[in-house]
């Protein structure tokens, strides 16, 4: 069951990479967060560690409801719905993502047998999600999708923490959630500023800042 949920997480990642519409990307991120929360709740149920329930609930509230709303508002105000130009086009991106997944499984191969937790197989998927999130930040030009990529990375890290150690201590989790929320807010404002200054949220235009 845990593996199934993790696999669904990975699947949404691919969907994000393949999706050109910004609002759909944000929806997919919300979906991914729901899956993440489900995975966490499942782990909590199977192990009987209660504080993971709290983390799962927070995930739903912040990552599936609050952050997508902020991002959608940004998209509405900026009036950009589609991302037409990318640094790497969609088919090539998907292929690279496949390679990243293989890489993640290859790297974690020697580590996984050492673990004894029932979630240990999810570690490879978690690493793959982190890498894909990172890749999204590189491949896309619009600031909004870069934020999504960043949040996907964060999801991957959360899954990794759950998989490797049944989650971090609650106080750390709370701190991380707060950080993500603040990061989301800051990036939202920052994107407005970029829009004002450059008439676009295309971050490649930031090169003109170089002297």
């Amino acid at each position: 069951m845990v593996d199934l949920c993790s696999a669904l997480l990975l699947l949404t990642c691919f969907a994000i990479v393949a999706q050109r519409r910004l609002s759909a990307c944000v929806d997919l991120f919300a979906l991914q967060s729901v899956f993440l929360a489900a995975t966490a709740a499942l782990v909590a149920f199977l192990t009987g560690i209660h504080h993971i329930y709290v983390a799962a609930a927070l995930t739903v509230v912040i990552k599936a409801i609050v952050l997508p709303r902020i991002l959608k508002k940004v998209i509405e105000r900026l009036n950009v719905t589609r991302e037409l130009q990318m640094n790497i086009n969609v088919p090539a991106g998907l292929l690279i993502c496949c390679a990243l997944v293989i890489l993640a499984f290859f790297i974690t191969q020697p580590i996984i047998p050492l673990g004894f937790l029932l979630t240990r197989d999810s570690l490879a998927i978690a690493l793959a999600i982190v890498l894909i999130g990172f890749f999204t930040m590189i491949a896309r030009k619009k600031a909004v999708t870069q934020v999504v990529g960043f949040l996907v990375m964060e999801n991957g890290l959360f899954l990794g923490a759950t998989a490797a150690a049944y989650g971090m201590p609650l106080i750390v989790e709370l701190g991380v959630f707060f950080d993500v929320l603040v990061a989301g807010l800051i990036v939202g404002i920052y994107t407005h500023r970029i829009q004002d200054a450059f008439d676009s949220v295309d971050t490649s235009k930031l090169t003109v800042l170089k002297e």
Binding site: F106, I107, P110, F135, M137, I138, T207, K210
Partner: protein, 676 residues
């Protein structure tokens, strides 16, 4: 006594650092507090230095810190005490001078900042010479370098000042890198940064590492001292600072490098040197002395000229130390002590007369607002005190009796002449050659100061600035006067100075020569052997004065009754004008001709003729400059190489967010793959 004066010194300098910025907008109060505290601290420093020199046991205080390997350890042995004394003596005079000098900065520069940095500079120099922990030493050394950088760029609105500062900053950090390497060599053998373990490591350094430590120390400290060819920053940086700071930089700061060299060579690497170590120091010293004075001759900016003379005098100091090292190699410890003693004597002498000359140059700048000698002239009548003090400094630096420069240079000569005791023929030949180069240096220095004094103070004013110059305030005169007295005293009283210096060289060379350098109850100085040669400066001074008196007496007795008549100097019936005066360029023309291979002068002469005839010139333009050889052939290629490499590396810095993310990503993936 020592502890109290050390604490007093620290407290006063700290007050001088922190108090002046607390009084914003009141330059007079800031000036008063900063320099007043510096004066009190210098007085404490004098006491500390003197008691340290006379104490039988060195004072060592150590305060542990939370950082590994770092302890705030100070140790005041005779060597350190001597340098504390030198720094404080110069600091005292310069601080008195600064009272008056800084008035011209009111309303222009933040005096709070300047005063704070000035006190920090003096404090860091003092700490450099008393530090007893390698880590601590490096920290205060770096503080000294940085503070002096900020002092150099005080007038940062001028582009040439910024250039000088940058040049200095880069050079001093290259030097510091080598110093760190030197200390790391000792550290890896000793396992601790304490100087005590450097001095007596559990197992001695292997020969290869000893050689490396020798070379790195020479490059590292040599950069600060300004030895050729690492001297290039010095003529830019020293003149760019405010004059009282220039006096300290040129007079004292470069001496901290001499201190460190002696500390490393005689204290840490003590014992048997290979003969080529001493030879290297000797060669570097001889070349620095000669080239320093030769470039000084070509300078028309008074402060740059003095800065080049610092290169020369560092060379002379190194000649003494190098000779000492060679004697040490062959077990001639008395002569080794003599060479070292000569070097140290010249160190304090140079600190005095160079500070005096820089203060004099500062006074000229204060009165005329220019550093260009071609615009001085006739200032002796307008500024008699400054002129007289400058003359004393000029006589000292030219090594004329009875002043201090003469005594120490004479001792350097003697230690070089004693080379016939060495058992190696090659060295028997080389040391006299070094002596000959030193002799040439002395002559050229005399020519240089004949030019500097003559063009600045004699004849007619060459510019309106010079015509309207006035004598400087009393505090500035007192500062210069104190140094002038010190110059004469150090020259007339070697019998006071030498026994003190012997307390330093005794432990370093392993033998005390106090009884052998003084003859005739201390009235004469001898290079350990009275039959070889001896010198009595008091007698010499007496002779000079009485000869002058005799001359006057004869003139009075034989000449007729004098009738005074004030009139213009006779000019063959023509009225004398400015254009008939010697120019600085003209004065050194013969020397430029003789050494044209070295200077590679470029002369441009453009003549504009009248349209009617080619025999009548309408206007002539004369341009002349000499090739800065070291910069052209040594530094420019290095700078070019680095800027070209940096240009190539710029491609990496595209400024694209995605590219930077990709760098991180690729690095991550590669590291993950490597880890597997």
């Amino acid at each position: 006594m020592m502890t109290i004066s050390l604490l007093g010194l620290l407290a006063c300098y700290s007050g001088g650092i922190f108090l002046p910025p607390c009084l914003p907008g009141r330059p007079r109060a800031q000036n008063f507090i900063a320099n007043g505290l510096a004066i009190v601290a210098s007085l404490f420093g004098l006491v500390l230095g003197l008691t340290g020199l006379l104490a039988s046991e060195p004072l060592a205080i150590s305060i542990p810190s939370t950082l590994p390997f770092l302890t705030f350890a100070v140790r005041i042995d005779p060597l350190a005490a001597f340098f504390v004394l030198t720094i404080s003596l110069a600091g005292l005079a310069v601080s008195i001078y600064a009272f008056g000098y800084l008035t011209k900065f009111y309303g222009q520069t933040s005096l709070g900042l300047l005063g704070s940095l000035y006190n920090g500079f003096l404090l860091s120099m003092t700490l450099v010479v008393i530090a007893d922990n390698g880590f601590f030493f490096l920290i205060v050394w770096e503080v000294m370098s940085l503070v002096s950088y900020f002092l150099v760029v005080t007038e940062h609105e001028k582009s040439e000042v910024r250039y000088a500062g940058l040049f200095y900053l880069i050079m001093t950090h290259v030097g510091t890198a080598f110093i760190i390497l030197t200390f790391l060599i000792f550290f890896q053998q000793a396992g601790s940064f304490s100087f005590e373990t450097f001095r007596h490591p559990e197992s001695p350094l292997p020969e290869g590492l000893r050689t490396l430590a020798f070379l790195f120390a020479l490059i590292g400290f040599g950069t600060k001292a300004g030895i050729v060819p690492l001297h290039v920053w010095l003529p830019y940086a020293h003149p760019a600072a405010p004059s009282h700071v220039s006096a300290l930089m040129s007079g004292v700061m470069i001496k901290t490098a001499i201190y460190a060299l002696i500390r490393v060579y005689f204290d840490f690497l003590g014992g048997q040197f290979p003969w080529w170590w001493g030879f290297t120091i000797l060669a570097v010293g001889a070349v620095s002395a000669l080239l320093g004075v030769m470039y000084a001759l070509m300078e028309h900016d008074l402060k740059s000229l003095l800065a080049f003379h610092s290169v020369e005098n560092i060379g002379i100091i190194l000649l003494g130390i190098g000779a000492g090292m060679i004697f040490q190699t062959y077990g001639l410890q008395e002569f080794a002590a003599l060479g070292l003693l000569a070097g140290l004597y010249h160190t304090i002498n140079h600190a005095m007369f160079k500070a005096l000359l820089f203060l004099g140059a500062g006074s000229l700048l204060y009165a005329t607002h220019t550093r260009n000698m071609e615009e001085y002239g006739g200032l002796l009548k307008r500024m008699p005190w400054t002129g007289f003090f400058f003359l004393v400094g000029a006589v000292s630096i030219s090594a004329l009796p009875p002043t201090n420069g003469f005594v120490s240079e004479w001792l350097v000569f003697q230690s070089l002449f004693l080379s016939f005791h060495l058992p190696v023929v090659l060295l028997n030949l080389i040391l006299p050659i070094a002596a000959a180069m030193l002799a040439l240096t002395g002559v050229l220095a005399l020519a240089c100061f004949a030019k500097a004094f003559g063009l600045s103070f004699l004849a007619l004013p060459r510019s309106t600035h010079a015509r309207h110059a006035e004598e400087v305030p009393i505090t500035m005169r007192v500062g210069m006067g104190g140094l002038a007295v010190a110059c004469v005293f150090l020259g007339l009283a070697p019998m006071v100075v030498l026994p003190l210096l012997d307390r330093i060289t005794g432990p370093l060379a392993g033998v005390s020569i106090e009884g052998r350098v003084l003859a005739l109850d201390g009235w004469a100085v001898a290079p350990t052997n009275v039959e070889f040669s001896s010198l009595s400066t008091p007698a010499l001074a007496l002779m000079l004065v009485s000869l002058a008196g005799l001359g006057l007496l004869l003139a009075w007795a034989l000449g007729g009754r004098l009738r005074k008549r004030y009139y213009k100097t006779w000019g063959c019936g023509i009225n004398l004008t400015l254009r008939m005066e010697y120019t600085a360029t003209g004065f050194v023309q013969p020397i430029k001709r003789i050494f044209s291979t070295l200077y590679q002068p470029t002369i441009k002469l453009e003549t504009e003729f009248l349209e009617e005839s080619h025999y009548f010139a309408k206007r002539r333009r004369f341009e002349f400059y000499i090739e800065p050889l070291f910069q052209k052939y040594l530094y420019d290629p290095v700078v070019l190489f680095f800027s070209a490499t940096a240009d190539h590396l710029r491609i990496v810095q595209a400024g694209s967010l995605h590219l930077y993310l990709a760098y991180i990503f690729v690095t991550l993936v590669v590291l993950l793959l490597v880890a597997v």
